[in-house]
């Protein structure tokens, strides 16, 4: 009689254990998972792909007389309800633009995430007390940094709309523009809209 509850507990434990969803790696190359209301990596991949394709296709980045433009990433504003690191979009865009051979990105100056602080930290050594510790020939010389010719900046924003009693519509807008820093003229601009419709209960932030 005493063993009966014990057996039931063991069975209950086994049952609960078997119900837990299995952890599996996402096949990021051919992900067949359902869409989600929030922005996931597929949305960023799509937005980045459409942006890069549009930039290349436009011919705006093809430098007259050959060579590559020096580009930096300016300010990318996240105006969504989600905590998005805008580098999630820009890292892909920058990578593809550099691989295209059209531009070379600078880490010397730029918005959040663009600069590499080491470029300036190494130069700060010149004025520091430790300056003598370094072989002066190995410290970056003055007047070597190349200023950017183009800047890419943009915005990601979100609109939540009530679709009907049970569903909501969430619209995500990805906007990027490329500006010639010298003249201030805008060479290229594009917008990708990703819209999702789903249950009101789904949270998109």
């Amino acid at each position: 009689m005493k063993s009966k509850p014990l057996l039931m507990i063991v069975f209950a434990c086994l049952f609960l254990c078997s119900c837990a969803p299995e952890t599996a790696n996402i096949d990021t190359v051919n992900d067949e998972g359902k869409a989600v209301m929030a922005l996931d990596y597929r949305d960023f991949d799509r937005a980045a792909s459409e942006m890069v394709q549009s930039m290349i296709k436009s011919g705006a980045l093809a430098k007259k007389g050959g060579g590559r433009y020096v580009m930096t990433t300016g300010r990318i504003t996240n105006d969504t309800m989600q905590r998005i690191d805008t580098d999630q979009l820009m890292a892909k865009v920058e990578q593809d633009l550099m691989n295209s051979g059209l531009v070379v990105m600078t880490s010397a100056v730029g918005g959040k995430g663009a600069p590499d602080s080491m470029v300036h930290d190494v130069r700060d050594i010149r004025r520091s007390e430790d300056a003598d510790e370094f072989d002066q020939n190995t410290i970056a010389a003055k007047g070597q940094l190349i200023a950017p010719e183009l800047s890419v900046a943009g915005k990601i924003f979100q609109r939540n709309i009530r679709y009907d009693n049970n569903r909501q519509q969430v619209e995500y807008y990805f906007q990027l523009m490329v500006t010639d820093i010298n003249t201030g003229l805008r060479f290229w601009q594009n917008e990708t809209v990703i819209g999702k419709r789903g249950s009101n209960r789904s949270v998109s932030w």
């Binding site: 991949d45 890069v52 394709q53 290349i56 296709k57 093809a62 593809d96 691989n99 295209s100």
Partner: protein, 144 residues
């Protein structure tokens, strides 16, 4: 039973014999918007729609244009026709290869959506991520 069969044969014969002729091949006016005709009207349309679904009509690719743009990047454009009565949503992904047949890795090589309205032409395009691209492979899948 015999009557239904006769009607079906008539509908089939009519739809095959007298098809809609557009004013210009570049302009597509869908059924239900353009004037009804003998072979396509409020009575025959449900039968044609059901028949189309039964025989599994879908997307047909009719044209592929491959060119190199002014900046030296290979570009492709795929055109086709959605033979189905329903909007077909699908995704495509292009893999680019260099002159020696090696894949050119790119973040831009991802599944992108296409939507083709029923009984209408559609087209989509893609540009290579590098000037080294010499060939491509395009794959499609159902929209997720």
């Amino acid at each position: 039973m015999k009557t239904v069969l006769n009607i079906l044969i008539c509908v089939l014969a009519l739809s095959v014999s007298s098809c809609y002729q557009p004013y210009d091949q570049r302009i597509n006016v869908r059924e239900g918007i353009r004037s009804d005709s003998l072979e396509n009207n409020i009575a025959t349309r449900p039968v044609l729609t059901a028949l189309s679904a039964l025989i599994g009509e879908g997307i047909d690719v009719t044209k592929l244009i491959s060119t190199t743009n002014q900046a030296g990047f290979m570009e492709i454009q795929v055109s086709g026709f959605n033979r189905s009565y329903e909007t077909r949503r699908f995704q495509f992904k292009v893999e680019w290869f260099d002159g020696s047949g090696m894949v050119i890795g790119s973040k831009a090589s991802t599944w992108l959506p296409v939507s083709a309205v029923g009984k209408s032409p559609f087209s989509f395009s893609s540009v290579a991520p590098s000037r080294d691209a010499a060939d491509f492979k395009l794959n499609t899948r159902r929209e997720q």
